[in-house]
C-alpha cells in the first residue's frame, strides 16, 4: 500500500486513510433496511436486448388483440415495412416501425413531429430509443491514411492490407510480424477476429 502522491508519506498515510474512508461515516439518510435487488448491473447490450424483447411482445399482443384497428398503408406504393423476408418476423421488426411511425406522424401533423407515437390511442412503440438515435454509417468515400505514420496513403500492401505512405515506410511494413500487423489493423478496426 505504498503512498503514491506527494501529498502523503508513510506516517501521515494512515491518518489520511482514516480521514478519507467513507465506510465508517454514518449515513443516516439511507434507509437502513434497504436491500438492493439482485443482479441489477447490466451492461448496454443486455439492456438493449431486453428492451427489444419487451417491445416485441407488446406489439404481438396488440396486433392480434383486436383492441385497435390496423392502419391501411398511407401511400400507393407499398414499401415493405421491414427488410426481413419472413413475414411473421417482419411484422415485429422494431427498427423500421420506428421510422415509419415518424414519417407517418410527420405527414399527418404536417409541421412538427409529435413526440410520442400512438396507434389507436395506445402508446405502442417509442418514437425515440437509444439505438434509434445512433448515427448511421458514413456515405462519403473513406480517405486512406498510412497505418504507420498517419499521413495520407496512396498505396496498400497486398500481403497484409496495411496502408503506407512511401517506399521507406514500406520497408518497415514488410518487416512487421503478424502480431504487429494485427495491432495496426486493430487500430483501424480492420483486424481479423476469430470467433
Amino acid at each position: 500500500m505504498a503512498p503514491i502522491t506527494t501529498a502523503s508519506n508513510e506516517e501521515t498515510h494512515g491518518a489520511l486513510l482514516d480521514a478519507l474512508d467513507l465506510q465508517k461515516v454514518p449515513k443516516p439518510f439511507r434507509k437502513p433496511d434497504w436491500k438492493p435487488p439482485q443482479r441489477r448491473n447490466k451492461n448496454l447490450k443486455q439492456i438493449l436486448s431486453e428492451a427489444q424483447r419487451a417491445q416485441q411482445s407488446i406489439i404481438t399482443t396488440q396486433q392480434n388483440s383486436g383492441a385497435s384497428t390496423p392502419l391501411p398503408p398511407t401511400d400507393g406504393t407499398i414499401t415493405p415495412a421491414s427488410l426481413n423476408p419472413n413475414p411473421a418476423q417482419a411484422n415485429n421488426d422494431l427498427s423500421r416501425v420506428v421510422l415509419e411511425k415518424n414519417i407517418a406522424a410527420q405527414q399527418t401533423s404536417g409541421v412538427v413531429a409529435s413526440l410520442t407515437a400512438n396507434v389507436g390511442g395506445l402508446a405502442v412503440t417509442p418514437s425515440v430509443t437509444y439505438t434509434s438515435i445512433a448515427a448511421a454509417p458514413s456515405l462519403k468515400p473513406k480517405k486512406k491514411y498510412c497505418d504507420i505514420t498517419g499521413l495520407p496513403a496512396k498505396y496498400t500492401d497486398p500481403k497484409s492490407g496495411l496502408f503506407y505512405f512511401n517506399a521507406e515506410v514500406y520497408k518497415v511494413v514488410k518487416n512487421l510480424s503478424t502480431t504487429q500487423v494485427q495491432e495496426y489493423l486493430a487500430a483501424r478496426g480492420a483486424n481479423t477476429v476469430l470467433k
Partner: protein, 751 residues
Amino acid sequence: MPHFTRPIHTQSGRNSPKPPPTHIYNISEPPYQGQLPTNTDTYRRSTPNTAIVIDNGSSSVRAGWQTDATPRLQFPPLMARYTDRKLNRKLMFIGSEIYFDGTARGQAKNVYEPGSNIVNNWDVQEGILDYVFIRLGIDGRNNGVDRPVVMTEPLANTGYTRKVMSEVLYELYNVPAVAYGVDSLFSYNYNGGTTGLVVSSAHMSTHLIPVVDKQPLISQATRLDWGRAHCAEYLMRLLKTKYAGLLTSGKVNETQIEDLVRSHCYVSQDYDTEMLRLLDWSGLEARDHVVQLPFQEKEVVQKTDEEIRRAEEKRREGGRRLQEQAAKMRLDKLVKKEKDLAWLQQVQEHVQNASTKKEKQELLDDEDFRDELALDRKIKEMEKSVRKQRNKDVGDLEEEPEEPHTYPLLDIPDVDLDEDGIKAKRAQRLLKANHDARARAKAEKEAEKARQAALQQQDDMRREADPDSWIEERRAARLATMQRIKDRDRLKADLGNRKSQASQMRMKTLANLASDNPLNRKRRRGQDKEDDGFGADDADWSVYREVGRNDEDEDDEEEDLGAQLKAIEAQLLLHDENFTEEKTQEAQRDWTKSLVHSFLRGPYPFDSESAKESNQFHLNVERIRVPEVVFQPSIAGVDQAGITEIAEDILMQRLSYHPARNNILKDIFLTGGYSLFQGFEDRLRNELRAVLPVDVQLGVRRAKDPVLDAWKGAARWAGTVEAKPAFVSRAEWLEKGAEYIREHSLGNVFS
C-alpha cells in the same frame, strides 16, 4: 523530353542538425486533489424546495445546491471498496480521493461501462450519491434526503436505467421529488439559446440535437459514439504500436494518457495538407513534443581522479602480495622437488649397488617403480623440470640446449623390436607426425601472408601506374557488390512468396529429387534399383545450397558482402577525389532524411544506449490525428458518419422543409469537453460552410464554459417556474410506474 527551366535542387547533404528539445514534457502525477470539504451551512439555510443538482457525467460528477454559482463538488465517478488485510476492516473511497493510495486505485470501479454513457454499476452509483449527500451536509433528520433532486441523464436514456435510478433515489434515499434532464440542453438553455443545433461533444459520446423554439426535436437527434475517453484509448493504441515495448506493463495509465490528450492535441484546420507537411524537417522541432517517461539512469559511476588512483594502487598492492605468495610457494615446491630428486637418486644408487636381483626388485617396489627403466625415466623427468623451474624463478642455471627431436626407432622395422620397442616406436611416430603437422601449418600461414603482401604490392603498383583505370575497376567492383547484395535480398524475399519464379524452381528441384525417374541420373551398373546414385558425383551436393532456405546460415557464410562493400568504399575514399562521403552507403542511410526517424524520434539524433532517450516518446502526428476522428470516424474504425456529415444530414435532408431550418443554422452551439480542443470551432464552421448553400447564414458559437455549463444550466432551471411541474413526487412515481418521467423542454421524452 523534359525541359526544365529551373535547376532542380536534389536533396543532398544532411539536413542541418537541430538543437536538443527546448521543453520536455513529463507525464502527470495521479490527480489527487485532497479531500473535498463538507459544508453544512447551505443545508441548514435551505428551504425544503432548494434542490440538489447533480450532473451525472462520465468524466466527472458535478454536484451542488441549486443556489450555488458553481458546483462545489467535482470528482470522477469512481469508487473503491475493499477490505484491507493489514487493518482488517472494510474501506470505501470515492472520487479523486482514491488516488491517494495505490491499492485503492487498483480497486476502483467506474459507474459507467467503458465506452458507453449509460450507468452500469449501481453500487458505485450509490456510493457516489452517499458521498454527495455527506459532503452537502445532509444529516437525515427526516429519515432520508429531504430535498428534491435534479439529475442529468443521457439523451434517449433506456427505461431500465431510469427505473433503477429512480428506485435508488426514491426508495433508498427517500427523496421527495426528482426531475431528469439532458445535460446539453441545460447548457444550451443557460447560454440563452432558443433555436439552434446543439453539438455536445463530451467524454463518452457526441450528440447533435436540433432545437426549435426551446423544444428539442429528439426524434431528429443523433448520437456519435466518440468522445474524450475514446480519444485516450486511441492514443494509447497508437503509442503502443509506435513504440513497441515501451508502454506495456502498465507504465502509463489512463489518467496520464487523458492528460496527454488534453495538453498536446489540437484540431487541425485542413487535415490532409497539414499531415503532409507535418513531418517535414523545417519547423519540426516546434511541432514535435517530447514526453519523458520516468526512467532509471544506468549506473555510470564517475570516480574522481583520487579515487581512481587509490583503487589502482590497492589493486597493484594486492597483485604484488599475491605474486610474492606465489613465488614463495613455488620456491617451496622447488626445494621439495629437489629433495625428492636427491632421494630418488639415492635409491638409484642403492639399486645399482644392490647385488641380487631380488633386492633390486624389492627396493624398486618400495618406491612403486616397475623396473629400472621406469626409475631412470622418472629421474630424468624430474631433473628436467627442476632445471626449468630453477631457471625461471631463480635464474641460476643456464638453459641446456634443446635436444633435437630424434626418432631413431622409426627406421628399425617392426620385426626387430621387442614389445616395448614397438610401443616406443609408435610413440615416436606420433610425436613426429605432430611436429611435422605443426611445422606445415606454420609454413602455410607464412606463405599466405607472403601471398597477401605480394597482392597488395601488385595492387599498389597498378594504382600508381595507372590510377584512373584502377579507380574505374574499384568503382565497378563496388557496383557489382551492391548489385549482389540486392540480388541476395530479393532472392530471400522471393523464396518466401509461394508463387514466385524462384520458389517454383525450388519446388521443381525437390520434386525431381524425390521422383522415381530423376533427370540426369544414370544408374551405374552394379547398383540396385533403390539406389539412385545421389552423391556418387560430387556436384550432386550443391543441390543443398540451391534448395536450402535457412536464413541464419546465409549471412556469415561465404561472402560477407557488407564487409566487402565497406572495404572497397574505404579504398575509394582514400584514393579517389570524386568519391566523397556523400556517396557511400552509410550516408545514404542518413537519419536526418529518414521519414521514419522523424516520426519516431523527431529531428534529434537517437542514442539507443541512453536510458533517458529510450524512455521518451515523441508526439507529432498524433497531436492532430487523435481529435480528427470526430470528423472522420473511419480513421479509428468507427463505422459511423463524422459530425459534419451528421449535421449536414440533419439540416439538409431530414429538416430540409422545416420552416425554422434557416434559424437553426444561425445558432450552432458547441458544448462539452471535446470542444475545448484548440481549433474545433473554426474547423466545424469551415466544414459546414462548405456543405451548406451559399446564401444561408451560418453561425457557430461555443458555450462560455463547456464543461460546467450543464450543471449551471440545471441549477438555474431548477429555480424557474416551468421546472415545477417537471418534478415527479414519490407518490406519483409509485403510482405511474418505475420508468415514468414528466416531459419538459430540457429533457427526454417519455416512451
